[in-house]
């Protein structure tokens, strides 16, 4: 039913608009509220990158932000590279 409306160029029903917005806003809320998950994420990312690159762990930063341009939240990471670990 929804797809038909899209095909014929009609406006989406307000409830679908609501559902979509709600999903996005909850993603944002859940990420921001889940501190432990975030800490684990940060550590795992650090570990994985360290497998390939030598990085400055003290200056390593990860944040999740709501960008004005994108619709959903994005991960912004600052990874200062000291050296490469593997050479091709």
């Amino acid at each position: 039913m929804e797809n038909l409306s899209l095909i014929f160029g009609k406006k989406k029903s307000s409830k679908s608009v609501a559902k979509d917005r709600l999903k996005l806003v909850l993603v944002s809320d859940r990420i921001n509220c889940n501190d432990q998950m975030f800490i684990n994420l940060k550590n795992d990312v650090l570990k994985t990158i360290s497998n390939y690159l030598e990085i400055d762990e003290n200056a390593f930063e990860i944040e999740i932000i709501n960008s004005e341009k994108e619709e959903s939240p994005i991960i912004n990471a600052q990874v200062p590279i000291k050296n490469v670990k593997f050479r091709a």
């Binding site: 307000s14 608009v17 609501a18 917005r21 996005l24 809320d29 921001n32 709501n66 959903s72």
Partner: protein
């Protein structure tokens, strides 16, 4: 002269956030500069109702903690350049802000805006105390239900005890079909108990749910009767003398205009 108005109720779910969004948008449409302040830290909703949820970068706690300037946190509404939103924080709770900090924030906002509308959280604890600490005037919202009216009475008592005398009443979600059957309290029944002046009566209207779905306040919809009620309320806030809507008819502004031009 700038005014800081807090919109409160005691009971949750009676329409504070809807009213804040609509009154703010409507005053901005009239040409006044308006700052909307979401004081419900930890359970923010004003951003969603306004459709501004994905533009949040900084919030009220960032401002109060000094992590950013007020201007950086204020979100300008794309539909109306007079209207700004200062969102609540989602990851903190009400202990993150002190009443004194709220007062300072409101004083700063007053310098740049004609109206500061504060969306107060439900309850009577810290969130409520924070929200009222910077306010000059108060609006109490209630629905025509025993529980809501009882809580409104408590809130009025607390407001009066905190120097917010003469709060005004908005009776929200009234259903004239039920009133006429005798199944719902009337405005008179409620003012008899609460004994405060009435700012407006808003009919229960599906268009409010649809407008929240889309993030488009009902005052922007010419066909919405609730929207019309909020437009009238804003007019009264700004000093105009507007007669109360006839709630017994199902006509909205669009119908009336059609009639006038037919």
């Amino acid at each position: 002269m700038s005014e800081v108005i807090v919109i409160t109720s005691g009971k949750g779910g009676v329409g504070k956030t809807t009213a804040s969004a609509n009154i703010g948008m409507s005053l901005a449409t009239k040409g006044y500069t308006v700052a909307l302040l979401d004081a419900d830290i930890g359970l923010r909703n004003l951003d969603v109702v306004m459709g501004l949820e994905n533009r949040i970068v900084y919030d009220i706690v960032d401002v109060v903690d000094g992590n950013c300037r007020i201007k950086q946190a204020l979100i300008k509404d794309k539909r109306n350049p007079n209207l700004f939103l200062l969102p609540a924080a989602q990851t903190k709770d009400k202990e993150a802000v002190l009443p004194g900090q709220m007062q300072k924030l409101c004083s700063s906002l007053k310098e740049d805006f004609d109206y500061v509308i504060i969306d107060c959280p439900a309850g009577i604890e810290r969130g409520f105390k924070n929200a009222i600490s910077g306010a000059d005037k108060a609006i109490v919202i209630t629905t025509p239900e025993v529980s809501a009216v009882r809580d409104a009475d408590r809130i009025i008592g607390l407001l009066e005890a905190n120097n917010l005398s003469n709060p005004k009443l908005i009776l929200n979600r009234i259903r004239m079909d039920m009133v006429n059957r005798g199944d719902m309290m009337t405005l008179e029944d409620i003012t008899e108990i609460l004994a405060i002046d009435v700012l407006g009566v808003v009919p229960d209207d599906e268009s409010v749910i649809i407008s929240t779905n889309r993030g488009e306040p009902a005052v922007l919809d010419i066909k919405s009767r609730a929207g019309q009620a909020f437009r009238d309320i804003s007019a009264r806030i700004s000093g105009e003398d507007v007669p109360f809507m006839d709630l017994n008819t199902k006509e909205n502004l669009f119908d009336k205009l059609k009639k006038a031009f037919s």
